[in-house]
Symmetry: C2
Subunit: 362 residues, 2 copies
C-alpha cells in the first residue's frame, strides 16, 4: 500500500539476496525507519523485539531468515537449528512455525549446494503468496461491506482492533484488505480504530496506514467499543488472528475477546480475517491449548510518544513500585465468531466447516 503516495511494503528482499529490509515498526507513527537485516540473529531480534509483528509478516520474515542461514551454512544440522531458533522468537502466532516448517520441507530434500538459491526463491514465493492471499481475503470481505452499504445510506462503520493491516503482512493486510478494497471501489466507510494497549498498534500503526490510504477513521480507547456498539455505531467488527483452532476458536491480540462479547451482545457481525496459514488443525480448544505470550511489564508501565518538540520519548504512567502484567493475546471462543474470512471464501467458525475447507484445498 502507500506511504505519502509511494507504494511501500513492510519487508523486501535485497536484490543481491544478502539481506532483507524491514520497516522498524516501533518508530511508527512518528518516524519511518527502514532497517537492513543481514543475518539470522538480526532477523530473530527483529521478530522477538517486534520491529516486525503481525502473524503473516512474522512468517515471511522468518522465511527470509532461513534463506540468510542457507547462505552461511546450508547443512541439515544448521538449518534445522536455525528453524528452531527462529520459531522460538514468538510463541503464539502459528504462521511463524508454519513458514519455518515450509522452508525446511523445501530445503531438506535438496542437495546442499542448491539450498541457498532455493531458499530465496521459496521465501519470495511465500511473500508473494501472502499478497495474493490477502487480496483474496479482501475480495471476500468486500462483499460483507457492500451488502451493508446496500442496506442503508451513510458510511459503513467498521471497528477493528490491533493492526491486521498491511504492516502486519507483506501487503494489503488481512482485516484491512476488505476495507482498502471497499475504499478503492468507492464504498463510503469509516473505521473505528481501537488504540490497542499496551503497544498501541491501533493508534500507532492502523491509524497511520489508514491515513496514508485516505480512509476516514477515528481512534478510540479500547474501552469505547462496547459503548459504540450499544449506540448502533458499528456495523461490522473486522479483526485479524494469530492462531485459529480446528473448532474455530480465535487467538488474537489481547482485548479481542471483549469486543467479540460486545458484538454478540449487540448483534453486530464479528468477522475474523484468516489466511489459512493461521489455522492450526492440531488444536481444538483454544483456551486450553494455545500458549499465550506474556510480554514485559514495561510495555504496560511505560509508553513512547512524540513530545511537543518533535522528539520521541518514553514516559512512565504508573507509580514506582506498582507491578504490571502483560498477556499479549486472548482467545475468542468460536461461538462468538460470525465467520472467518479466508482466501478461499468465508467459512463458519466450526470444525466441520474448517476441516472441509482444508480437505477441499489439498
Amino acid at each position: 500500500m502507500r506511504v505519502s503516495g509511494q507504494p511501500t511494503r513492510p519487508i523486501r528482499a535485497a536484490p543481491e539476496r544478502d539481506a532483507v529490509w524491514v520497516i522498524d515498526q516501533r518508530a511508527l507513527p512518528h518516524r519511518l525507519v527502514v532497517e537492513r537485516l543481514a543475518d539470522v540473529a538480526a532477523v530473530r531480534r527483529a521478530i522477538a523485539d517486534m520491529w516486525v509483528r503481525g502473524a503473516p509478516l512474522i512468517g515471511a520474515t522468518a522465511a527470509y531468515g532461513m534463506a540468510l542461514q542457507a547462505g552461511v551454512d546450508a547443512s541439515d544440522a544448521a538449518i534445522v537449528q536455525t528453524a528452531a531458533h527462529l520459531q522460538s522468537a514468538r510463541p503464539t502466532a502459528v504462521n511463524l512455525a508454519w513458514a519455518v516448517q515450509r522452508m525446511l520441507r523445501k530445503l531438506l530434500p535438496m542437495p546442499q549446494d542448491e539450498r541457498q538459491a532455493a531458499a530465496w526463491d521459496e521465501a519470495d514465493a511465500l511473500a508473494e503468496e501472502d499478497v495474493a492471499v490477502n487480496q483474496a481475503i479482501g475480495r471476500h470481505g468486500l462483499a460483507l461491506i457492500t451488502a451493508i452499504a446496500a442496506r442503508r445510506p451513510g458510511p459503513v462503520q467498521v471497528l477493528t482492533h490491533c493492526n491486521a493491516g498491511w504492516l502486519a503482512t507483506v501487503d494489503w493486510g488481512t482485516a484491512t484488505s476488505p476495507v482498502y478494497q471497499a475504499h478503492a471501489a468507492g464504498v463510503p466507510l469509516h473505521v473505528w480504530v481501537d488504540e490497542t494497549r499496551p503497544r498501541n498498534q491501533g493508534a500507532g500503526l492502523t491509524a497511520w496506514e489508514l491515513g496514508h490510504e485516505g480512509v476516514v477513521h477515528t481512534v478510540v480507547a479500547d474501552n469505547a467499543g462496547g459503548h459504540l456498539m450499544q449506540r448502533g455505531q458499528v456495523d461490522l467488527v473486522l479483526v485479524g488472528c494469530d492462531r485459529v483452532t480446528a473448532r474455530g476458536d480465535v487467538c488474537n491480540k489481547i482485548g479481542t475477546y471483549l469486543k467479540a462479547l460486545a458484538a454478540f451482545d449487540n448483534r453486530v457481525p464479528f468477522y475474523v480475517a484468516m489466511p489459512t496459514s493461521t489455522l492450526d488443525l492440531t488444536l481444538a480448544d483454544g483456551l486450553a491449548e494455545i500458549p499465550i505470550e506474556e510480554r514485559s511489564a514495561r510495555e504496560v508501565t511505560h509508553l513512547a510518544g512524540r513530545l511537543a518538540d518533535g522528539r520521541v520519548a518514553e514516559v512512565q504512567i504508573t507509580p514506582d513500585g506498582s507491578a504490571a502484567a502483560n498477556p499479549a493475546f486472548d482467545v475468542t471462543p468460536a461461538r462468538l465468531v460470525s465467520g472467518l474470512i479466508t482466501e478461499h471464501g468465508i467459512v463458519d467458525a466450526d470444525e466441520t466447516a474448517l476441516r472441509a475447507l482444508m480437505l477441499g484445498r489439498r
Copy 2:
C-alpha cells in the same frame, strides 16, 4: 487513607472557611499537588478540568463551591445561578446535581445572613456523611470478600476499573472500601487494576492509592480483563458508578460494560459499589436516558507521564491528522450486575429492590 503513612483526604475545608484545599489529581501518580480553591470559578474549573473527579468527590467539591458563593453573595438569585453553573460542569454523574440541590434545599428557606455559616456546616456534613457511607459500603462489601476467602486458600483476586478509590470520594472510596477493610482485617487479597484509558485513573490513581496502603496489586491494560477471567484469575469484579437508574442500569467509566460482559460470560460476580446518592430514580433505561459526556479528543491522542529525568511531559501517540473520539462513560445493563453494594446493604440491580430500599430509608 494514607499517603506515605500520613492520613490524607483529597479535599478539606480551610479552617477559616474561605477556601477548600484539593489534591490536583492530574499530577498523580508522579507528584502530589495540593491546590487552594477560593471561589466558585476555581471550584468549577477544578471539577470540569478534573483536578477532582469521581462522583462522590465531585458532589462534595460542588457543595463547598456553594458555601464559597454564600460568603460572597447569598441572595436567592446568586445561589440558584451558582447551583446551575456548578451543575453544568460535568453532565453524567448524578452526585453533582444531588449535592448542589441538597445545598439549595438547605439554604433557600433560611434568612440570607445565616446562609454562609449554614452552607459551610452543610458542606462539612455532606463530606462527613460521604465518609460514613463509604465505610458502610466497605463493611457490606467485606462480607463478599471474606466469603470468597473462606472457600479456598490463596489471595482473593479482585478486578477493578477506573478509580472508585478514596481519591474519588472524601475518604475510603466506594469500590476500594471493601478492599481496604479486607486488607485491614488481614484477608489476603490481590487487586487487578485496569489502566483505564484514556485518562489512566487506574494506572495513575488506583495503583498509587493501593501502593500507599500496602495492598498487593498489578496494573493491566484494559484489554486484559476478559483473558484473566477466562483463566479463573478473577474472583470478583468491584467497580464504582456515576449514576444508577431505577431499574439498576449502571453508568460508569467507559469500558465498564466490557468487563461486565466478560464477568457474566465467565460466571465471575460483578458488583457495583453505589452510595444511594448515586441512584437516580427519575430514570429507568440507562442506555436511552443517561447523558454520556464526550470529552476532548486530546485525552485519547495525548498522554502525560514521567520522563527518565523525572520531569512530567505529554506525548502524542497517534499520527497527525487522525481523528479521535472520547466517550467518557458507558452503561452496563442491570442484567449483567450481580448486585449493588450500598451503605444500607447489598441490593439487587432491579427496580423493585431499589424502590423498596429507598422507601425504607425515607
